[in-house]
Amino acid sequence: MMPELVILWTDALIFLLVAGILLFAGYARRREPLCAPWRKVVRSRVGVASLIVLFAYVAVGLLDSVHFRAQDAKGVETGEVLSLFDRIASPLRTRQEKTYSAPLALHLYAKENIETPDGNTVRDYPRLEHAGSHLATGSAAILDQARLLLVGAFEGLLLWAGVVALLAGLLAWREGSGFLQQMEVLFTGDEEDIPWTTVLVMLGMILVLGAASWQLAQHYHLLGTDKVGEDVFYQALKSIRTGLVIGTLTTLVMLPAALLLGMMAGYFGGWIDDLIQYLYTTLNSIPGVLLIAAAVLMLNLHMDNHAEQFGSVQERADMRLLFLCLILGVTSWTGLCRLLRGEALKLRELDYVQAALSMGVGHFTILARHILPNVGYIVLITLVLDFSGLVLAEAVLSYVNIGVDPTTYSWGNMINSARLEMAREPVVWWSLLASMMFMFILVLAANLFADAVRDAFDPRLRNER
């Protein structure tokens, strides 16, 4: 029996966003001025490398956004809502230990009283329930781990070879040239075109790394376990979706208001400008964190009082996530609005807007046809730049407990729960390190990508080089 799909609010918005991007790509394909800057992005090494890293994150995030009601082996619903990613990563999800264990360890991190078979009680580090359970007693874990690593790396290489062959085939089909010829292009690179060698190296690294960690993670806790014995690697992967949702949906929420108000303020001027400026200066002077805290606490209260409205824990957590996006959006649209106002102020005086006016074109048509396409680059650059800031903001907010729901996996929550353990002796460092590492790679890739996008789109930079 097919499990019943559950479409959470954020899922719907994410897929709407993906559909929007795909539609735009289809529209832009035939329009050279829209394509040209993007072509420039993928032709820069940094741009294409960061794009591949982002794609890897997005792939995990998307897999994690298809939710359904879980069933047990007999097809009876368990009441849990799981995602496709949970299903794939079920070995990671289900193998829970008792409490902390270090990365790739076979024993718990804390001593316990263990009853030996002969009835005595020994105080020692107990053996983990799941990690390395396939090992014969006494055999060294390190050898097994090395073997798994090699197997994983080999699998990764195979996968990579497959992807490369597929890519070459696709290119050959598109260009109408030979397969081997395209292979040569891929490996030697072409100055004018996409830096294929960079693409291949990045892809290779991600695939080898991914496959190797997958092999290890199936039999060990790659990044250890947390206080309640959950796999930290799994938590870090699950947090990707939260980060992406916050980073993209927030900007999506704020976009219409910022666009419309900013363009109107700049274009019409006069009292409309005064009103809008007054609005955003007022909003800007309210401390953002306080506003967010107030809104999140109010929402909490509301959800506690109306618990019956939420079918599952996930739905409740999802609502809170969405609401966080909204409130972050409300506090962060002013910057973009101000930028757009300035640009519209400049564009309004340009001759083509004046010419359109003199032909009797209506104001809102001018906004849509002349102003909007020409502020597009500002919007895009701001969105990409904001993304990394928002991912970090989520971490900070969750750390002070006004971010996402405590049951939602997020880097901020991971850091929050790990912070006390930093004071422990010996230190429990892996939760913190894992979340930081995942966040760091995402934010770095996003920032590098933002730089590449700005270089390609900003008309002021276009003439350089």
Partner: protein, 694 residues
């Protein structure tokens, strides 16, 4: 001067930007010699490599650019071989440079005194302790009034002309023997241009320095140069003494340049145009660089590179046919023999558009409550009328309010007072949908062909915009056919439909802008300096096109410009504007031949004319135009007027209407006897008039 020693000798100068196969060569084999005390004009259209030549002399090429070969000898010193430290001493020392844009060449947060002192300290270490005296001396030498006070002012407190004087002062600080002036007057008004050119000439006389004057304006060459080098596609194609050049230019390109200049003598005829466009600097040439565009190109031109041939004393031409007599007998200044069909002026009909008492005041607000503390009177009581099929030129310096008049007519700016009647119907009361509908009758073509089109719209959408807005678009295929027809009307191929503005050259873009204006079948087109951003040869194409369209469609043009030559070629009537008011208005021949207002006279005198021996002594107009927020009392022009009398300081002159339709606002019009104005009729050489209270 022809026997003074050579100061600068350039041989086979090649500049390359980029590496290997893709390298662009904007300068490709330039030879020139500049003698001491001589002004050498480097003349050419945009993109021909003249600025790059100057930058190569200064060794200030843009990143990636380098001097590939050739020698530059300044007084025997080879500049390319100097180490950078020594070169730095030469820059601003023996070679001074001034740029086109005085507004951006000065640092806005330093006083001009400090900026000049910086140059003084570098080049005169003995003055380093107390440069102030030298600074004041320099400012005085460039004719800046009240230099003691001015040294402590900031650039924004100075007008454009004064800033250019400060730039010249900085260039003079090192006592250069060669001054490179890169389009020094292009950004300035004609009256200021005349001042700056006079200043350069005076300084040259005093100091004996040489000047390398880079310009695209034949008029400036005629005014200021001793020798001229015509540059085309990275090479100098003709060098001659100035007088000889204007009498007997030999290279077909130079001749075409003369023929494409608009002048009153060519009224009613088409201007000559150079076919094609300037070749890309990427192109490699086997033969003559001008062959593709030359009417005389023959067998040797395609395959054989022409060498510089000496055709007369100090007159060299890079052309295979330089020594042959010109078959088409189109000497410089002569007229293209193919006349356009109409020299006749269309008959005067009922006015198409009448402007009555138009005023546009911008309030100056200050203080916390944004109270109005004053008015900028950009347009202050303008009366004009224009009949269908005729051209009225509105001339004046920048800031006089002529563009504001155009925008106020279109209601792009709301007039403060006055009314605009289009075919007898007032536009003042219209608003909303009614105004939008009426706007179809009046269109505008802007100066800058780069900012007048949305870069993200294909040409078809740009031209169709008005039709769509007015609900006249019809079915897609009909619309497309209509746009194709419009493009064809302005001389563009149908393939242009789906291309984007950036794929076109300046002249082609201006054609698209005209097609866009034509789309709605307007009765009036306001042309706001439509050719001043274009090169001479392209300007000729656009002027021809505008003239043809007027004859075919009977459109009225309000032609806003500062270029007197264009006015004399194109317009039937002219109105001279000063500080928001029309000071003189009438038929173009009368006004340009015998201007009555001293300001019209001064404008005409300042405009450089491309003819030999134009080194006439004249008195350039002193000072700058006052601010329209605080116009002088009495006649606005009196502080600059050579004929001003006490009366002029007290009352603004009434407008006097003369019988031929001329109007003038002056107490003492030129050529008329003082005590009889305005009074008895019929005593003057000028047509009779009747006074009118205005």
């Amino acid at each position: 001067m022809s026997d003074s020693p050579i100061l600068l000798r350039v041989r086979g100068l090649c500049v390359a930007i980029g590496e290997g196969e893709d390298a662009v060569r904007p300068v490709d084999g330039v030879d020139m010699e500049i003698r001491r005390g001589e002004t050498f004009a480097l003349l050419g259209e945009s993109g021909c490599g003249k600025s790059m030549t100057a930058l190569a002399l200064m060794r200030l090429l843009p990143p990636g650019g380098r001097i590939q070969s050739g020698e530059i000898l300044l007084d025997g010193v080879s500049l390319p071989d100097l180490i950078e430290r020594d070169m730095r001493r030469e820059r601003g020392g023996r070679i001074g440079m001034i740029f086109q844009e005085p507004m951006t060449s000065l640092n806005p947060v330093m006083t001009i005194g400090e900026q000049i002192a910086e140059a003084v300290r570098l080049h005169e270490p003995e003055q380093a302790r107390n440069p102030r005296l030298r600074v004041i001396e320099l400012l005085r030498s460039v004719g800046l009034p009240d230099p003691e006070r001015r040294t402590d002012e900031y650039p924004h407190q100075l007008s454009g002309g004064m800033k250019q004087r400060v730039m010249i002062a900085i260039a003079l600080a090192g006592r250069p023997s060669l001054l490179i002036a890169d389009e020094p007057t292009t950004a300035l008004d004609v009256t200021i241009q005349a001042q700056v050119l006079d200043l350069l000439k005076g300084l040259q006389r005093q100091t004996g320095m040489s000047v390398l004057l880079i310009t695209h304006d034949l008029g400036v060459v005629a005014e200021a140069a001793d020798r001229v080098g015509v540059m085309y596609a990275g090479q100098i194609v003709e060098t001659a003494d100035c007088g000889e050049f204007f009498r007997d230019a030999r290279h077909p390109y130079s001749r075409k340049l003369f023929q494409s200049l608009p002048e009153s003598r060519k009224r009613g005829r088409r201007l000559a145009v150079i076919k094609g466009s300037v070749p890309s600097p990427r192109r490699r040439f086997d033969g003559c660089r001008f062959a593709d565009r030359c009417d005389r190109a023959g067998e040797p031109c395609q395959g054989q590179v022409p060498l510089c041939t000496l055709v007369a004393m100090r007159h060299a031409v890079r052309c295979h046919f330089a020594e042959e007599p010109d078959l088409s007998a189109t000497g410089p200044g002569s007229i293209d023999p193919t006349p356009a069909d109409a020299g006749r002026n269309p008959p005067v009909q009922a006015p198409l558009i009448e402007i009555k008492g138009l005023r546009v005041h911008f309030p100056i607000r200050a203080g916390l409550l944004r109270r109005t503390v004053g008015q900028v009177r950009a347009v202050d009581g303008v009366e004009l009328s224009l009949a269908a099929g005729r051209t009225l030129a509105l001339v004046g310096e920048s800031g006089c309010g002529k563009t504001t008049v155009g925008k106020a007519i279109l209601r792009l700016i709301r007039p403060t007072a006055g009314e605009v009647l289009l075919q007898g119907e007032s536009l003042a009361g219209l608003s909303g949908a009614a105004l939008r509908k009426r706007r179809a009758d009046m269109q505008i073509v802007f100066q800058d062909p780069y900012s007048s089109m949305n870069p993200r719209m294909p040409v078809a959408d740009i031209v169709a915009e008005g039709l769509r807005a007015q609900g006249k678009a019809g079915k897609p295929d009909q619309l497309r056919a209509r746009i194709a027809q419009l493009l064809q009307q302005v001389g563009l191929p149908e393939e242009a439909l789906d291309r984007f503005p950036h794929e076109f050259s300046g002249g082609q873009r201006q054609r698209i802008a005209i097609a866009r204006a034509l789309a709605l079948d307007p009765k009036l087109i306001i042309c706001d300096e439509p050719t001043s951003a274009l090169d001479v040869s392209v300007q000729a194409q656009i002027l021809n096109l505008l003239k043809d369209l007027q004859q075919q469609l009977g459109i009225g043009y309000l032609f806003i410009t500062h270029n007197i030559a264009v006015v004399s070629y194109l317009a039937q009537e002219v109105a001279v504007m000063y500080l928001g008011r029309i000071v003189e208005c009438g038929p173009v021949e009368a006004v340009l031949e015998t201007p009555l207002h001293p300001y019209s006279r001064a404008l005409l005198d300042s405009a450089p004319i491309a003819e030999a021996n134009r080194h006439v002594e004249r008195q350039p107009l002193q000072g700058d135009m006052p601010s329209p927020s605080a116009p002088p009392p009495g006649c606005h022009f009196h502080p600059r007027c050579p004929k001003a009398q006490p009366l002029c300081r007290e009352t603004y002159p009434k407008e006097s209407l003369l019988e031929s339709g001329r109007r003038v606002s002056c107490h003492f019009p030129l050529g008329l006897v003082l005590d009889s104005w305005p009074g008895r009729v019929g005593m003057y050489s000028c047509p009779p008039f009747r006074g009118r209270t205005g």
